[in-house]
Amino acid sequence: SNDAENTAAHHRNTLQFNTYSHRKQLFSVCVTLSEATEEVSLDSPERQPILSDGPSPVITPVTPVMISSRADVFDRSPDQDEDEEENRDTFDIQISVSDPEKVGDGMNAYMVYKVLTKTSLSIFSRDEVCVKRRFSDFLGLHSKLASKYMHMGYIVPPAPEKSIVGMTKVKVGKEDLSSVEFVEKRRSALERYLLRTVKHPALLKDPDVLQFLESSELPRAVSTQALSGAGILRMVNKAADAVNKMTIKMNESDAWFEEKQQQFENLDVQLRKLHASVESLVCHRKELSVNTASFAKSAAMLGNSEDHTALSRALSQLAEVEEKIDQLHQDQACADFYLISELLGDYVRLITAVKGVFDQRMKTWAKCQDAQVMLQRKREAEAKLQHANKPDKLQQAKDEIREWEGKVQQGERDFEQISKNIRREVGRFEKDRVKDFRVVIIKYLESLVHTQQQMIKYWEAFLPEAKAIA
């Protein structure tokens, strides 16, 4: 059917990665994939920040003031969102991140990437836009989105990770294979990040996202630096959150949430394990490739030494076959990595984001509880003042009661809304996950088929040579 074709085309185009064109540059060295850590690492010392970059990316506490300023997004009707879901099958936007270019040199250098957006959606001003962005721009975008949407229960796709080691090598100007690999890995990760972000119906319409994709000049995101004031605040808040998590004991009235949270905990563990296994596979396959190449050379020398003519020729042919197979192993390792390993890494980070929204819900509930406690206190205070003769204070008390009644109501509404949002988000996430994995697994199987078919070709060509030994 047409829809299926479109979806398939959509996935093919958007989750595209040029594994075969990159193979020559990559993978002659077994790169340890230990860069995928969750630590906050230092980015390079940036150049002088010029302006502040708009809404602070730091976690914003939920206050009534904040809520009302985001009223439009917050109050969007759920039906609207459902419609987005329907329309996603005719979702038409392609994003590619390409052409990494080094700007500057020494420790002040950075990479700039070309971000090309092709779309027929009307919210974009043109149907083809090309802009230049650097890594901290992506981080800045994510920061903004997280601060705007996470507390409402939206699962905001996490940005790719920083890496001191990787970037330092690139800055220092080493044109070696590991820095080429690093840049390619990052480029691919940035592309996947943008695609996931625009797949989210709310985020697609976000002005920050549109600005990121379209505007030629983007104010520098300086607060993404780890040691900036914002960075420090971020770390403090992270710690505070961790403490809060331990102290909040939520009375879960909704079994769905409890179940889901447990599910995600389990999934987290399993995916990490799987990821580790796949990383091991990639490493071993690269080793296999190296050893096959080494054997090929040795077989060639043996063939040269062999004094029986036909056997000598056969051994030389064997060496050639093994060389070709080595190339196959390299390509397969590439596929292993870019298709499976990176996908798993992405999902491990996504699940962290999912767990984050569950935590937000808990915080919202806590706020609601606090408001209720406060209201109770105010009521008690008012009751006391009823019998004292202080009309001003009584009035004030009554006003405060009204204020806190409002907060309680708002808190309950918030809680209801975030619960509803999370249900929808989780549903969307799970659908996407199944689709994502299925598409990638099919692609991976196809790569395996291709490898095996090539093997058949090579061995079938060799067989007559072996038979010709007389």
């Binding site: 296994s277 091991s280 050893n291 043996l302 029986h308 064997l318 199944v434 072996a466 030994i469």
Partner: protein, 394 residues
């Protein structure tokens, strides 16, 4: 205790060596073996029409040390100096599986029940593979002897096959071990000798050049092939872990994952099988590395005989000059010459048939390996495509 019974799978000859004469008058095989802790007990089974044996069919239990005894006595037999002595079978090496078993025991607590069972299965398969390999290599040794017109008549060989009591092979005492060591030293001195001695015979000159070079090349190729096979095994192991991990995520009720598991399992199987093919290659190269060494040993012995011959000539000249002990020197010279001629003659025959044997063995094994690679790759493709279809249709 593990026991293994070979059936007519033998026909597919896992053996890498080939017999050029299909003589049924003396047929030897190792139909089964027992493994007790460190010791392997092979059952050596003989069927013969030769009258020199007491019975037409019989079996005896033998251990690895007894094979080595047999090999050593043959090497030390002066008469056989002009023959290529079939290389001794290497000691059964269960180090690999044993290490794995140890790891399995240690990691038991951190694995799921299924993973553990799977790894245990893997381990048993590997154990079995090592076992089969060692049986094969001991069998080939005996078959080389039985198919050789001269070795098959060796008295010690017959004792080995027939004597149903324990051969009581003494452990080498210190003197003998030192003697053996000394012999090896002499051998390396021979290597210098071999290249130093002036060769008059064109055939041997060529063989010398060829064998010296080929020997180092095949040793290298054998080592590299082993490394390649090991990497392949690692990849297969990884797929094993991956399928285990996917298994647990499939509790998601997602059929896509379930299909992936079956795919991973079969990819693992394929990798295993592919590595079995490579093993054929590795075994072939390993065996011929040893065989080439045996051929080199023959050259050493001949070179030594040549040197002895030259020395005896010199001694005779000196004796004639001095005028005393001439008869003795003449006798010595005659013997050395005889020995040298005999060695050269049989050596030439042996080396020629060795080359023929080698070429045929390579051909056979390369063809078998290639055909198996093709078969398994085709299997892989059809299974993978089947899975892709299922996933696409969901």
């Amino acid at each position: 205790m593990t026991s293994i019974s070979e059936d007519s799978d033998k026909e597919k000859v896992r053996s890498v060596s080939v017999d050029l004469n299909n003589d049924a008058s003396l047929v030897i095989d190792i139909p089964d073996a027992l493994c007790e802790r460190d010791k392997v007990k092979f059952t050596v089974h003989t069927k013969t029409t030769l009258s020199s044996f007491q019975k037409p069919e019989f079996s005896v239990p033998r251990q690895h040390e007894e094979f080595i005894w047999l090999h050593d006595t043959i090497v030390e037999t002066e008469e056989y100096a002009g023959l290529i002595i079939p290389p001794a079978p290497p000691k059964p090496d269960f180090e690999g599986p044993r290490e794995k078993m140890h790891k399995l025991g240690e990691g038991e607590s951190s694995m799921t029940k299924e993973e553990y069972a799977k790894m245990k299965q893997e381990l048993e398969a590997e154990y079995l593979a090592v076992f089969k390999k060692t049986v094969q290599v001991h069998e080939v040794f005996l078959q080389r002897l039985s198919s050789h017109p001269i070795f098959r008549k060796d008295r010690n060989f017959q004792i080995f096959l027939e004597y149903d009591q324990d051969l009581s092979v003494r452990r080498k005492n210190a003197k003998e071990m030192f003697g053996g060591f000394f012999k090896n030293m002499v051998k390396s001195a021979d290597e210098v000798l071999i290249s130093g001695v002036k060769e008059v015979d064109e055939f041997f000159e060529q063989e010398k050049t060829f064998l010296l070079d080929y020997s180092s090349k095949i040793k290298d190729a054998s080592a590299k092939a082993e490394k390649m096979t090991r990497s392949h095994k690692n990849v297969a192991d990884d797929y094993n872990h991956i399928s285990g991990a996917l298994n647990s995520t499939a509790a998601d009720n997602n059929t896509a994952f379930k299909k992936t598991i079956s795919v991973c399992v079969l990819q693992k199987l394929e990798d295993r099988v592919a590595s079995d093919q490579e093993l054929k290659l590795t075994e072939l190269l390993r065996y011929y590395t040893r065989d080439i060494q045996a051929a080199k040993d023959l050259l050493y012995r001949r070179a030594r005989a040549l040197a002895d011959n030259e020395n005896s000539n010199k001694a005779l000249d000196k004796a004639r000059l001095k005028g005393k002990d001439i008869a003795q020197a003449e006798e010595n010279q005659k013997q050395c010459l005889q020995k040298f001629d005999k060695l050269s003659e049989s050596g030439k025959k042996e080396l020629t048939s060795f080359k023929a044997r080698r070429v045929v063995a390579f051909r056979k094994n390369l063809i078998e390996m290639t055909e198996l690679e093709i078969k398994h790759a085709k299997n892989s493709v059809s299974l993978l495509q089947g899975s892709i279809e299922i996933l696409n249709s969901n």
